[in-house]
Amino acid sequence: MNLKKLVTGVSGEKEFLLGNEAAVRGVIEAGVSIAATYPGTPSSEIGNVLSVLAKDANIYFEFSTNEKVAMEVAATAAASGLRSFTFMKHVGMNVASDSFMTTAYSGVNGGMVILSADDPSLFSSQNEQDTRNYARLANVPILEPSNCQEVKDMVKYAFDLSEQFNIPVIVRTTTRVSHMRGVVEFGDVEDNSSNNENHWKRGHFNKDPSKYVPVPAFAGDMHVTLWDKIHKIEDSTNKSDLNREIEFSTDKKYGLIASSSAYNYAYDVVKFNGLDVNILKLGFSYPFPKERVVEFLKDLDEVFIVEEVDPIIERDTLACIGSENLNVEVHGKLDGTFPIYHEFNSDIVADGLNKILNFKKDEDIAFSQSLEKLNDEIPSRVPVLCAGCPHRAMYYGINVAIEELGLKPSDVIFASDIGCYTLGINPPYNAADYLLSMGSSVGDGCGFSVSTDQKVASFIGDSTFFHSGISPLINAVHNKHNFVLTVLDNRITAMTGGQPNPGIPVDGMGDEAPEVSIRKLALACGCDYVRVINPFNLEQVVKTYREALERDDVAVIISKAPCTLIKGLTKKPPVKFIESNCNKCDKCVNGFACPAISKINGKIIINESQCDGCGACIQVCKYGALEAGR
């Protein structure tokens, strides 16, 4: 599909879209003026697509330095009467939460929608938290689409809802919804432009401190107003057709309540096994549609609650049963019918339902012994740093420096951060000992350096440094902490698919932009030792780490070389292997571990389609058996 279709497509047209692309179409149909994000998988593609389409769609779009900033950009736009959209992954909500919580108090004028993508089973995340808790924490409505069509429709509807009640609205997806592809029928596009180029400037902020400045004197009333809104919205959730019943049976003994991707599994299991179970699908799940749920529960004997991550609908359902004195048995996560963590699938849901309904037949053909043996024998294939990745050279270099200084691996703590470089956790580098969140490697450096007599080496990426690495660096300098901070400046936000950040002379809409210098920032924070080095110069890498590790202040090393996946980079020819020089020391395979080098039948093989000629391995081989290609 041509992405431009997301802008030009007319009502009734159908496309096979990724959930995240459907979200963009929803934003376009809703006539949004302002969008801001910090990239995070599984929500990243929304930004990638918006970045390409923003101008055609008449939307101002930015990659903000972090989710809190993105939240603030969207909140002020909405306060100024414009429709605004911000999106992030679940853990991004933590970063944004300080401003988000108060946005619920101050409310909005133009519609404001926050899309937060949860990651059950942690495909690319550090935890599994459930965004639906934030809806309850902040007291704002939440919608839970379960497929691509619903993503588009609910994003659009969320703007209407937001404007109707002057409140921000969350749309919660999960990995399987964001990264699902399905047929989406387009709707009408609401025009957001006033025909001038910077049309978004037409917003206007009308001052009203009692509404927008939550000093204690005002905030108390704001909280009252918020609860009033929530009570009114509850009426909408009870009537909303986003909460609807799917009938599979006239005998109302068993029921099932489900939302989001979990609903899909439940639907398929009930339908394809012909089960006598009616389903209440909750698409608008907070404020909890109590009346709707009670009406569904009334005639039932037993109800299954199928939801991913936390037992949230389940607890609300139990509360309904308690307050209405109903006699319905609840099967969900709390009684162990379904697992309390990790992603669901049809098999898990079927197993859970089967505990009560006993519909499964013993048809399983056992995996035969020979297959089982084969299964045990195959090597694993875990994600690794790419061939030619600049991070590998740094990890190799610091390990050499540590050895040369006569230190043991246990003498140095590697504080890691969120990005490709977390993959340094794998052998042979073993370069990740502790990790909390975006920017945490710098704060962790502070803590370890005062609480242990070990050396500390913190690693952070350029984008992550801008995101939340600067304030802990100020902390480190002022409080006289002692560690080596390496900023791995690969000129892109690589892990999420190559988005720009403030260190690059291009912005989110592809326009030229001032480049913010990491070196000058580190100097301005008060660091005395700041070195910018080329990671592919191994001698320089080792020498710099030796120096830095011996200091007793915060030493900052900026490793500057582009990620090999950046489009349009000119690559050097692959290296050549000179067999007669090889002394079979295996340093290139086991010590450096570039995936383009492997050893097959005792001989070193360079995979020419993978090698990008970075030249690092040439310096690793002491015997001259690896040579620059021509």
Partner: protein, 194 residues
């Protein structure tokens, strides 16, 4: 439930698996069929195992249950093994016999002929093809995914026509490569039909 068809596609990050799956999905949509697909993004892509799941006809969930696939299409021998929990005795197993050796592998790579032998002992429809060679024959090793796409369309139970798959291919890939890709699709198709 005749028009239900599920394909589990697996291989290694960077082999063009998502593109291939999207083309099948678009072809299904163009033929007026219901289709959902699940794909993998993010950390798993750095040379790790990658899989997509496609379900045509009336499904809500895009995940294929255990033993639920009509076709297992694998771009790489050992990834075939990893996909076997989606397979039942009737599933067609089509796979490329050219290995990609994992870097920093914890175990030696098994012999591909042994893999084929064991699979044949256990399943009825095992169809190994040298997709990499067929891709080179078509003009470039990069057309491997189109060879495998052609192989899927050759299955008797596959609900889409070769023509609609080719239309969707043209819609998704640069015109410059259409001719080569057509050849690749044809090579894959023939290798299964014969």
């Amino acid at each position: 439930m005749d028009n239900h068809y599920s394909i589990y596609i697996c291989g290694v990050g960077g082999q063009g698996i998502i593109k291939t799956s999207t083309i099948i999905g678009e072809a299904a949509m163009n033929q007026g069929l219901d289709v959902v697909m699940s794909e993998i993004h993010g950390m798993s892509q750095r040379g790790g195992s990658v899989s997509t799941e496609l379900k045509i006809g009336g499904y809500n969930s895009s995940i294929i249950p255990k033993k639920g696939a009509d076709m297992l299409l694998s771009f790489e021998p050992i990834e075939t093994i990893r996909g076997l929990d989606k397979v039942n005795s009737e599933t067609k197993i089509v796979y490329n016999t050219h290995p990609i050796i994992p870097s920093s592998a914890n175990k030696p790579y098994p012999n591909v002929d042994n893999i084929t032998k064991t699979l044949k002992e256990n399943f009825k429809h095992v169809l190994p093809i040298n997709g990499t060679q067929l891709a080179i024959d078509a003009g470039s090793v990069l057309s491997l995914n189109m060879v495998l796409l052609g192989a899927v369309t050759a299955d008797d139970k596959f609900p889409l026509t070769k023509e609609s798959v080719i239309e969707a291919m043209k819609n998704n890939l640069k015109p410059k490569f259409h001719e080569m890709n057509l050849k690749a699709i044809e090579n894959g198709y023939k290798s299964i039909k014969n």
